[in-house]
């Protein structure tokens, strides 16, 4: 005890005596503690907010999918850009029943992942559709208005055609197109149309509509699921327009960011995009339109897209808009295309006014979104076997995730469809459908051919060609087969039983105790293995893919930074202590001569360095706590969409935990200790005889 008193007394006195050296070491260690405590608090907080954000958006606590899947599950995106093959789970109900018996599992949800496209019609197509409807409805005023619009569009396309003529060799086709446009533009066309409206519409469908090229292809990420259960279990999903899909009905809920990205009027989207670059909350370099550069080029492209507005306007609407445009632009021209081009050529000075004008004056006259709630969405997707399949689905609503910035596309921004539509779209059959197909094959006498005998089996095995002609009776057998699958496509409702029995790509699982995910995964795997199911189970972080791994990357970066920092600290402290030990050789020799054991000298150096470490760690830890508390008051802003996903909102409010401080203090003490080992060994080797040689 007395030796300890002596050691501490000496250590304290020595630390004070070598103040400069210990200040240098202390500053390094204070910085190290600060980085570790702040970093650990940030990572822990990030983990908490990410879990809250991601598990309540789409991943749930655990995901189960095919153990033989080619690609790992990545619900929030991966490097395959949606082309991942996550395999299949043959029957959801079987797995659900197995999981229902696992005590850790609270609830399960079926999921099906895929991509789909929607080909948006061009403006001529849409106008022709409206014209057809107006004819059917017997609305001559609307017919006249729409014919007039078609003539204007044709008139606008005519100069384009001349430009095409200059760069193509297909003069015959250009001549045909020119003739078609000239016919529509001609003053006599309305009368000509009135004589035979429907054949003329059909003719325009084939000869004129293809000349307009403003149709757009939209890409959607689809998530098939039990929609009411999804809404119930993922509380961050909020319907912003329309409603959810009623239970056991087919339908789709679009994701708001997808709608904004793919279905919004292109001019509105451009205005939004340019405004986003001006966002004062953005910490990036302030961008301006200026007279060159990316944003300027974007404005130039936008001004050439005046047709996106023009083609959607009726004569009456033009009559309303034109004077307002003239007033805005202080231009007396009556050339509407010219006015629109001038209007869209925005600059830094007029951008805000022009954008406001668009939303107040133009947006009410045009279609702001290609697809609206209540419309039918023509989805197209490739089945696993490579066939392109189309399906019309009613849009019930639009949703977004609460607490996420405008663009939540990285947050698993899926358009949500019912499970049956998903299966139909991707050609995933239920057992009943497979049985039905089997019946069809049996009815038509289809035989499975395989191996090297295909030719023999097809052509009879001999040299003589044998061909079996299907008899009337064989074809008649088809009449007995119920084409239930085809019926299902048009059937807008389904039973819970139909939804639950069949293929899914993955299953979302909510645990009773989300904090015990490892135990939950182990229990799930044990149950599925025991049931003979070849499934794998992953936690939310792994299942989320790129974003979840980004958090791990951040952890890794911090770890490497701390490692480098501490390695540098160890080297610096080591050198400082070695030099200090060499300076103190006489003192150490004296202590040894007076009866201090080598162990005492070693411990003395360790106590000294631990003292410096402890004081530094307490100071650094205190600074870190203050800093994290400050961040907690003001928040760490999510400057970009990626961060807003990670933070689950526009800012993260980090909190420190005692274990973060313990980690920082512990690491710094460990670093101090490691850095002292070599100098301490050197000190212990100082012989007592040095005392007789040394000078005071």
């Amino acid at each position: 005890m007395s030796a300890l008193i002596l050691m501490v007394r000496l250590a304290v006195r020595n630390v004070r005596a070598h103040l400069i050296k210990n200040l240098v070491i202390g500053v390094i260690l204070v910085f190290g503690t600060f980085v570790v405590v702040t970093g650990a608090a940030m990572i822990d907080s990030l983990d908490v907010v990410m879990r809250r954000s991601i598990t309540t958006s789409v991943t749930a606590d655990v995901q189960v999918y095919d153990a033989n899947a080619r690609d790992p599950l990545a619900l929030l995106g991966d490097m395959n850009f949606g082309g991942s093959d996550n395999g299949e789970v043959a029957d959801y109900r079987t797995v659900r029943d197995v999981l229902a018996a696992v005590p850790e599992v609270r609830t399960t949800l079926p999921m099906g992942l895929g991509n789909a496209t929607v080909f948006g019609a061009n403006e001529l197509d849409r106008t022709l559709d409206s014209l057809r409807e107006a004819e059917e409805a017997g609305d001559p005023a609307k017919v006249a208005m729409l014919v007039d619009r078609i003539r204007r569009i044709a008139g606008d396309l005519r100069p384009e055609l001349e430009r095409v003529d200059n760069i193509t060799n297909d003069t015959e086709r250009v001549a045909e197109s020119r003739a078609a446009l000239d016919r529509v533009i001609a003053e006599t066309f309305p009368a000509e149309y009135a004589l035979s409206p429907v054949p003329t519409i059909d003719w325009m469908d084939n000869a004129v509509a293809p000349l307009a090229t403003d149709g757009r292809l939209a890409y959607f990420r689809l998530l098939g699921t039990d929609l009411p259960a999804f809404q119930e279990n993922f509380p961050r999903m909020q319907i912003t327009r329309g409603t959810g899909v009623p239970a056991n009905e087919r339908g789709i809920i679009l994701n708001e960011s997808m709608v904004e990205q793919w279905l919004k009027h292109p001019i509105a989207r451009e205005f939004d995009a340019i405004e986003k670059l001006y966002d004062p909350e953005d910490d990036g370099p302030q961008e301006v339109i200026g007279e060159s550069g990316t944003i300027y080029d974007r404005v130039q492209r936008t001004s050439r897209q005046y047709r996106r507005i023009l083609y959607q306007l009726d004569t009456e609407e033009i009559a309303v808009l034109e004077p307002k445009l003239r007033a805005l632009l202080a231009d007396q021209s009556t050339d509407m295309p010219g006015l629109l081009k001038a209007y869209l050529a925005v600059s830094d000075e007029n951008f805000a006014t022009r954008k406001a004008f668009f939303y107040t004056e133009i947006a009410p006259l045009v279609r702001l979104y290609d697809i609206n709630v209540g419309d039918t969405l023509p989805l197209r997707a490739f089945t696993k076997s490579g066939y392109l399949k189309s399906l019309n689905v009613k849009v019930y609503g639009v949703y977004s995730y609460t607490g996420v910035a405008k663009d939540d596309s990285a947050a698993g921004a899926y358009c949500l469809v019912d499970m049956l539509t998903f299966r139909d779209l991707y050609g995933k059959m239920t057992d009943a459908q497979r049985a039905e197909l089997h019946d069809i094959k049996a009815a038509v006498g289809a035989v499975e051919l395989s191996g090297g005998t295909i030719e023999d089996q097809l052509f009879g095995g001999g040299s003589a060609l044998e061909a079996e002609v299907a008899t009337t009776s064989t074809l008649a057998a088809l009449d007995d087969v119920s084409f239930g699958r085809a019926d299902a496509r048009v059937q807008q409702t389904f039973t819970q039983d139909q939804m639950e029995s069949g293929v899914v790509t993955n299953i979302a699982i909510f645990l009773k105790d989300p904090d015990a995910s490892e135990a939950g995964i182990a229990a799930i795997l044990a149950a599925t293995d025991a049931a003979g199911l070849t499934l794998t189970a992953v936690g939310w972080k792994t299942a989320s893919g790129f974003i979840g791994q980004a958090a791990m990357m951040i952890q890794l970066v911090l770890f490497v930074a701390v490692l480098v920092l501490f390695l540098v600290a160890i080297v610096i402290i080591n050198i400082a202590l070695v030099l200090a030990t060499l300076e103190r050789t006489a003192e150490i020799g004296t202590m040894r001569a007076l009866g201090a054991q080598a162990r005492f000298v070693t411990l003395l150096l360790v106590v000294e360095s631990q003292l410096v470490g402890l004081v530094s760690a307490v100071f650094g830890g205190g600074l870190a706590i203050g800093f994290v508390n400050w961040l907690n008051d003001f928040g760490v802003p999510a400057d970009n969409d990626f961060l807003s996903i990670l933070f689950g909102g526009k800012a993260m409010y980090p909190e420190w935990r005692p274990e973060n401080v313990a980690l920082g203090v512990g690491l710094v003490l460990a670093v101090s200790f490691v850095a002292t080992i070599y100098p301490a060994i050197l000190a212990a080797r100082v012989p007592p005889v040095v005392a007789l040689q040394g000078k005071e």
Binding site: M1, S2, A3, I5, L6, R9, L10, R13, N14, R16, A17, A586, E587, T590, M591, R592, A593, L594, G595, A596, Q597, A598, F600, P687, P688, V689, A691, L692, G694, K695, E696
Partner: protein, 225 residues
Amino acid sequence: MSGIVELTKVTKDYPLGKLSVRAIDAVSISIGKGEFTAIAGPSGSGKTTILNMIGCMDVPTTGTVSIDGTITNNLYDHALTELRLNRIGFIFQSFNLINVLDAYQNIEFPLLLQGTLSGKARKARVNEMLEKVGLTKQSGQRPNELSGGQRQRVAIARALVTNPAIVLADEPTANLDSTTGTAIVELMRDLNKNEGITFIFSTHDPKVMDRATRLVMVADGRVVE
């Protein structure tokens, strides 16, 4: 062997590159309890090596060293250190006080290493030693606040505080002026006479040699008289 210090045919060789240098050669000395012995000789004669052997800071190449009945030749560092702590007091030419400790704490240092006395007893013992060397008023001063003579008095008190069997002093007056040196030697002599403490010191100062009750002359690593 009847002396408190017995050196019998002690030889010490130090390696010097591929060669070795013999510092002392077949030195035999016997010093009895209570003697006030000076080991004298010119620089490089081997007197410091002899003190190293007696002070258990080094072990002989050949021969035997016995300190207060303990033969040190085969002792490990730990046991030699114990021996130094409990049986030997050291007074150094350069005082060798610990700069970060004050006079009181320097004297207390060996007692704390021993850890045998209670806090109260330790305090009484340190104060007693301070009084003996006449530094009661300077107990709270650091070495750099003391004169050379005062520092050496602190060193003497530190050497004596554990009641050692032997006190070794390596040129104790070398860094002191003549008056102070004489005073220090007188102090050591008084302690020797009054308390029977065995003093062995190396010196080449004739005045100091004169005060010794026994003189061991060393030249070229050998005892010459």
